[in-house]
Structure formats: structure tokens, C-alpha cells
Amino acid sequence: MRQVTDAANRHDPYPIYARLRENRVNLLSDGSYALGRYADVVGLLHDPRISSDPHHASDPGSRLLVDNAPFIQRDPPDHDRLRFIATRYFGPPVSPGVVSGQEPEILSFVNGLVDDLPSSGEADLVDHLAYPLPVSVICGLLGVPKTDDEQFHAWTEEIVRGLDAEQQEGADDLIKQREQAQIAMFGYVTELVQRHRTQPDGSMLSRLANDQTGQQMTDGELGTTSLLLLIAGHETTVNLTANGVLTLLRNPWALERLRAEPDWVIPLVEELLRFEPPVQYLPNRVALADIDLDGTTIPKGARIVLLVAAANRDPDRFADPDRFDPDRGDIEHVGFGSGIHYCFGAPLARIETQASLTAFARRLAGPRLAADPPPYRPSPVLRGPLHLRVTYDKRD
């Protein structure tokens, strides 16, 4: 697992995952247990004996953040209550049109981004395509001023860098930095929520802040939930899109086919979620009971690392798993997780990435990578290129 977190392997962790998959359970040096086989990862994602609540961890961290944790760090029934409230303003049955209603704006915004690229030459498609779209969309949806982008982006970087702090060298410092950034950003969104109380609009934060249904979040929960949605709403999609551009450039036949068949983007993005998932593993689950897997016992209280990127390439589940093949038909990936914590923003991530990749394929002629592999962002958990310099002959 040290090899997974080692930045030198960031560009291609899959051979390491293959080795981790050889053992059903891997006991790591920090005492946690890593699993990478598809059946086990799916099994534990649905297992009621697995907790996501940091209260069960040996060192849960800051009281403010832990006691007000958002649904991703909660177990039922609190998880169900918080996720239900957030869903009320994001998706069916109460708000069925929210995500699909974003589509026209997403398409025009993506095309605007491509319009702004030089007519030929070189561009960084992380900075100029993969990043700006999801940030703009999540800001609009939540009701966060886009002009604050730089400020919350800096906090987000700190938080993401510390996501797997427990498995890294210098864990204590990383955890401290992560928590400081979280608390600062928590203060920022809390202020924002207050502003939405005095000047409400139709955004999700406004609707959550002014919820009168009798089943609303506390202010603390509202703060951490907003924080979660803001970070998860763009950090992951940036990587999915950038991984997609990279994968298309490495598979020119796929780029050709996408140009000719725009609808093919749908299975393409699903295969991408299997092949290069933007969330590579879930580092912070805890066993609430002894869990027996064919004679190996994960003891009660142990931290569990679920390697979804390894599961997605398990040859016992997917034929020829290291081949990028959107036509494989059977793409039941765990790129969005599974079970009660299945990605909240999945439908939004899908349409954003579909729009970006389609625009990239159709509007840039003769694109090629300036450097392969590209430089990567530091996190092994939310994995993706830091920059993606692409040269092309002509922008349409």
C-alpha cells in the first residue's frame, strides 16, 4: 500500500493493485486492512457491519467536524436522515428536474470554454476544460459565488492532500493541516448559509438553509454538508474528465469513434469510471464486528480500505480488465461506490463528463499529448492529472 501512496507510482497504480488483489485481505503497517477483489469490495460496501462514522475510528479527530459530520461519514439512521434532506433539493422524487435542468447550461458553458482556447497550438485541458466546468456548475447549483473560487480551491487542495493522511508519512501534520483547512472552509460556508437566510434565491444552499419542512439539518450539519457538496462536486469530476481526455488520447481509435458517434459517450464514460475511477479507494471504513472472510478475520474496530480501482480491474469479474473497452456491455463498475454511500452526485458527474469529452472530441483537430504520463496531483485517493498539456492543429 505504501507503493500506492508513493507519488512515483501515481501515473500507473494498477500493477500494484493487481498484487494487492492476490491476497484476499492485506494487513497494512498502520493496522488497517485493504481489500481489492470485486466480490469482497461489493460485499463490504453493502455490509451493515461496516461503519463510515469517524466516531468509531481510534482517533476520530476534531469534535466540531466529527459531531456535525455529513452523510458520507455517518451510519443509519443519521445518514439516512441527512442524505434524504439533501436529496430533497437535488433529485427525485421531490426535485426531479434539478440535474437534467443543468444540461443546456453545461453544454453552452463547455463550448464557451473551448471557444476560449487558442485556435491552434497548446492548451492545458485541466486548467481550461476539466476544472472550470464542474466548479462553475457546483457553484451555480449550490449558490456559492464563483468569484470565491481561488479561496475555496486552496482549502480544497489542503483537504484532499490529507484525505489518506492516516496511510502517509508524517500523518499527524497532514491531519492537522487538513483539519485547519476544513475548519476555515466550514466557517466560510457557514457565513454563506447565513447570507442565504437573509437573501434567499433558488439555489440548493438557500433551499436547505430556509427549509421549513420540519425535518431540517442543524446549522452544523448544514455547514459540513455544504462543504462536502462543494468539494465532492468538483474535485472528483475534474479527475474523471481529465482521465477521460488522457484515455482518449492514448486510444486514438476511441477518439475517432466518439467524433463519429456522439451517443457512444454514454458507455464510454461508464467504462472510464471502471478503467480510471476518479476515487481510487475508500480509506476510512471501520469494522463494527469481527468480519470473517474464509478464515481471515478483520477484527472489530479495524480500519478498512476498500480499493475500488482494484475491484474495477478484477479479472474474476471483468474479462480482459486492463483493456479500455466501452463496448464490453457488462460494465457494472464500483467507480461510484455502491450501497447507501453510492455517489450522491453521480448523475451530475455523468452529464458534465459526457459534455466535456464530446466537446473535446468534436472540436479539437489532431490533438496529442505534450507529455505522457502527465504530471499528477498529489492525492492517491482522488487521483488525476495536475496538468494535461495538449497540442492540436485546429480548434473548431
Binding site: G43, H46, P48, R49, P76, P93, G339, I340
Partner: protein
Amino acid sequence: MPGKSRAQRIVIVGASLAGLWGAATLRKEGFDGVLTIIGDENDPPYDRPPLTKQVLTGWVAPDHTVLPHLEPLGDTRWLLGTPAAHLDRRAGEVVLADGTRVPYDLVLIATGVRNRPWPVDEQATLGGVCGVRTRGDAARLIGHLEAGVSRVVVIGAGFTGSEVASACRHRGIDVTVVEQAQAPLTGALGGVVGDVAANLHTTNGVDLRCGVTVDALEGSGGTFRAAALSDGTTVDADVAVVALGGMRNTEWLADSGLASGPLGVAADAGCRAVAVNGLVTDDVFVAGDVARFAHPLFDYQFLTLEHWENAVVGAQVAARNMICAPEDRRPHACVPTFWSTQFGVNIKSVGVPSLADQIIVTQGSTGAGSFAAAYGDCDGRIVGAVTFDHGRWIDHYRGLIERAAALPEPYDADLPDKPEPARFPPHPAATYHGPTVVVTGHSPTRMDAVRLPDGRSARDY
């Protein structure tokens, strides 16, 4: 290809979910011969679960339920609007009601189930008396609901009846539900969960009458007006929805020599039909609601499962087994699954709860109407599970059932740690009116089993 079937003509009887998936799988697995699909309805295959849910509430139009073709079906002949009337296995032909003979090398039976009609003809034909099985039925019922009705009476509180009641309440229409058992859904999920379902009905404003049957549907001027109940009361209503379950469409097979009847068409775990004499056939396969197959996971009991997923998976297994080499055949062994949506609650189930003796609530709370519960047989093995608004946990229970695990203890604190009786009604063994089969021949090598012609009892022989 060595070992692979050399069949050139495959006929699928039944143009619904199982039929379509059978066709798609045959093409996907490389069958490039003549494919014919026969259906009694005029419509191309459509999806039935929405008919009592999104369609009845008015969200989706009845004709917006057409099933997509997930595989190109190539050159496929569709014979829609005329039912199959006979299966002539000697000639290798399906005979339609209009006399058309369709020859086959292999045939897949997927004729499904129809609504069990109200038993008294004059009452069944009153205006306002309907069932919900086809999209025509759904359109007719919506017509009534939208014309303005004072009350709907639903006869039977299984899944269909409960979903119809839910849709009526969604539309603000008064509804009375009459159920013979002590609670809704009891046949499928037992009395413990039935009590939770009863609570759902009553808190949503349904006038629920349990432990009661309908004696007669009364009308005037050819129109339904009221239902007379066995407790002596009368319910005034404009619409009666008959939701008494289904009848398997096997009559057309009466002279086919297959082991078929009201219980379905018997098949082995590989979806091959069984003949009257108990031998497995090689050219007749069965899938969907009409298939009664030996399930390896449940002591090889013959099960019929009227579930969406059973139709899809059964058809996939059957179609693949039709054309693959015999040694590559696979059993239809998947754990049964179904779902329902009623009164805003998502209900899911895996396994076969009705085989259970005991039940234990493992997550959530039945009082709050949001929970998971596991069903165990008399040996303490888990055989099924149900969730109310806990659907994302269902795969955990599916895994336990697949592994034949012990009935789990509760996962949440504060739940009773001992199972209780699941309270299923006694199995209605006495209702079987299948064909009479007799053994003939006098030496072991000459013995056979044959079915008596309809109307003749063994004594006449």
C-alpha cells in the same frame, strides 16, 4: 462451430419481457438463423411494472412503456395479435389460433400470466370492473379514474392491489381495499410484514378491510355500483379493480405432451421443458412467469416466480442453453428479486420469503416503517429478506442467501435478538386442478406416463 447447436429456426412464443430478452440473448450469443416471435397482444414488448405505478399515477403515458431493444435483433419475424393455440411437437410446429403453422427447430415458451378474472361472468362484465395486467387495462382504469369517481374498491391486497390503492390515494381518490387474509402482502411476505403494510394503507387514508371477501359485485344498468362483502356490509363504489393474482397461460399446451397446467410449465434448472412422463425435452425451453423450474438453491423445489428479474434472467439462461454446447449449459440459479413502490415507500425483496418459518428485523424499525428483515427456514438458514425504504442494503442479504448462510442477528442495537414466527398463511394445496396423469405399460422398460384427455378421470380409462 463444434458442439454448438445447428438449429436454424427458433420460435419464441410470448412477446413480452422474457420473449424480448430471449431474442436479444440469442442474437448476442450468435444465433443467425430465422427467429420468429409470436405474441397475442398487438403491441411490441412493453414493460409491465410501471403500469400500476408511474402509469396509474399519471406520470408516464401507458404507451411510453415500450421496452428498448438492447441488442440488435436483426431479421426477426414478429407475429403479433394472434395467440398460439397448439404446440405440435411431433411436427415441430407452433400452431396459431388462425391456423398458421410456424415450424421450429427450437422453441422458447414465454407465454406468461393473465389476470385472474372475477369468477362470475355477469358481474365481471359490468362497466367499471377492471384488472391491471396489460397496458390496455391500465389505460381503461386511468380513463375511469380521470372521469371522476367517488370511490374505488380494490379486491385483493397483494402487490398489484396495494399499488393500485396507492395510485388512487396519490390522485386523492377514496379507496376501499378488501383482503381475505389478515393483512396486505401476507401471501408474499407473511403476517409480521403484512401488519406494517396494513399500517401503510391506513395511515394513507385507505379504507382497509381484512379477513373479508367480496361476495358479489352489484350493478345497475350494466354499471358497477357496489361490492357486497362477506361480513354483510356493502361498499358503494364506481370502479372495482380485480387484483386476485394471475392464471398461467398454459391452456394452449394441453395436447403438447408437456408437463404443464395451472401451476405452469415444468422445467429443469436449465430451463428445458419437462414432458408429461417426467423426462426433460431437448428442443422446448421455458422462461418467465409461466416457467415452473427446479431451483438448486431451494432444495430443487419447482418454483414459479412472477418477477421482472426472473423473466430477464430466465430468458437469458434459456436462450443461451438453447444454442450452446450441452456441456456449457448453466442453471437458472439466481436468487429471486422483486420490488414495489407503494404509498411513497420502496419495498424490495430477495430470496423466497414464503418458504420461511421465522423472521427477524435486522435494521431500522418496523414502527417507523423503514427497516430490513431476514427470513429463515426451520433449520435456521436464511431463505429471504425484505426491505422497506432500506433498498440499498438488499445486496447484503442476497449474498447471505447465495451462501446459504445462517439467519443473521440484528445489526442495529435495540432490536429484539430472537426471530419470531413469520406468519405465512397455510399453502393452498387444495386449489390445484391440473391434468390427471396415469402410468401405463406393464414391464419396467415399457412403462410410460401419459396425460388423460380433459374431462376424463382415471377411473374412465
